[in-house]
Amino acid sequence: MNFEPRYSEKNVNVPSHNQLWVFFRLSLGLLGIVFGVYLVLGFAAEKIAERLPPKFEAALAGGIISRLDHDDFPRTREYLQKVLAALVASTKDLPEFSYKVSVHDNGAVNAVALPAGNIVVFRGLLTELKSENEAAMILAHELGHYAHRDHLRGLGRGLVLLSIFTALGLSGDMPGFIAPSVQTFDLKHSRDQESAADHFAIDLFARTYGHAGGTLNVFKTLDRQGKGVKTPSFFSTHPDTIWRMQALASHLKLKKYPQGAVRRLPGAGVLPFPGDQKTNKGQPHNSE
């Protein structure tokens, strides 16, 4: 048998197509599947959340609340609790919870609505507030989330998203570009919820105080505070503050709420109250 040297330039083992095209094709396919599953399961989670009985929600919330149930500024909390009680008393649209507010010594300019009527306000937000009207607007906004069951919807959707990625085994470095895409999609949903909570807040405020004076000031304060770190509105969970103020201003015109006086904060006019003593973290606070 003779050996005849011959060289073939053709390589059948290496694909000739562009690998970038393969990447785009696979990514689009995966995103399509993830969005589809997310939409279907997210919708199901929302529907379940809407029908969750308050008693069941309170039982579920036990674990989450026990960790956050501490009170860093008791006198400030007492004052906010009074404002909250007045707001809750003037509406029948809220689920039947024992609504409580607690103040956390944290610099975040935020407040959150936790399950079963537990509102947490952070010190960072309180220090920005200039009047009782602003404090009441913040609390009324959080009550709006309870009225629309947003707090549970968020939990349900988050759980669905986590389940999808765990099922795909994509908890490593690869989904870095996919996970934020899905979350960004969800932010639109979140912004709609925030707008609805804003409208609920202003209606509730007007019902409680008999006017809507000073309600927009809280957004001016937040806008001033947020000037340093501007996030594109598409990536933000809350709508753009200017847009929020415009939407509420037209809502005010439509409802023709009278403009009343702005109530000063008690004492030195700042929150948390100066000299307000902290209790040890982890201690349960006394509910009113």
């Binding site: 060289y7 083992n13 290496v14 694909p15 690998q19 990447f23 696979l26 690869m174 990536f235």
Partner: protein
């Protein structure tokens, strides 16, 4: 804004590894073709029997290579594994590794008349679905016939 930083790093790494990896692959293939042509007269065969000629010397020769899979390839391989598709990025990587291993084996057998009983082995380096690298090893028996 801080949320965008990991995105930026990921995209930059992905784009860089795509262009750099593609360039390196192209250069390596060109080099392989050139060396294969130069060593064309040294046959490497899986046959076990030498020609019916006097053999003066035999020798075990082997060539070994490890080629890394870049970030782009790892991402595409993970995506393809979800759909059960061909991992075409790894096909090119495997081809390079095997041919390079055979070439190194041939270079090791410089002066031989043939390499018989050639075997090529390869394995993936990397945990779970990650293709950190591909290792390929070629070995055979170099035959030196009497002149």
């Amino acid at each position: 804004m801080q949320d965008l930083i990991p995105w930026g790093i990921w995209i930059a790494l992905f784009v860089f590894s795509y262009f750099f990896g593609t360039y390196k692959e192209k250069v390596h293939f060109a080099n392989i073709v050139e060396r294969e042509k130069a060593l064309l007269l040294l046959p490497a065969s899986s046959m076990k029997c030498p020609e019916d000629r006097a053999v003066v010397k035999t020798e075990l020769v082997m060539g070994n290579v490890v080629i890394a899979g870049d970030f782009f390839k790892q991402v595409v391989a993970q995506l393809a594994s979800l759909f059960g598709m061909r991992i075409s990025v790894a096909e090119a990587l495997m081809d390079r590794a095997r041919r390079e291993a055979v070439l190194r084996m041939k270079e090791k057998a410089a002066g031989a008349d043939a390499i018989l009983n050639v075997r090529v082995e390869s394995m993936k380096i990397g945990e779970r679905k990650k293709i950190t690298g591909i290792e390929a090893m070629a070995c055979g028996t170099a035959i030196y016939y009497a002149k």
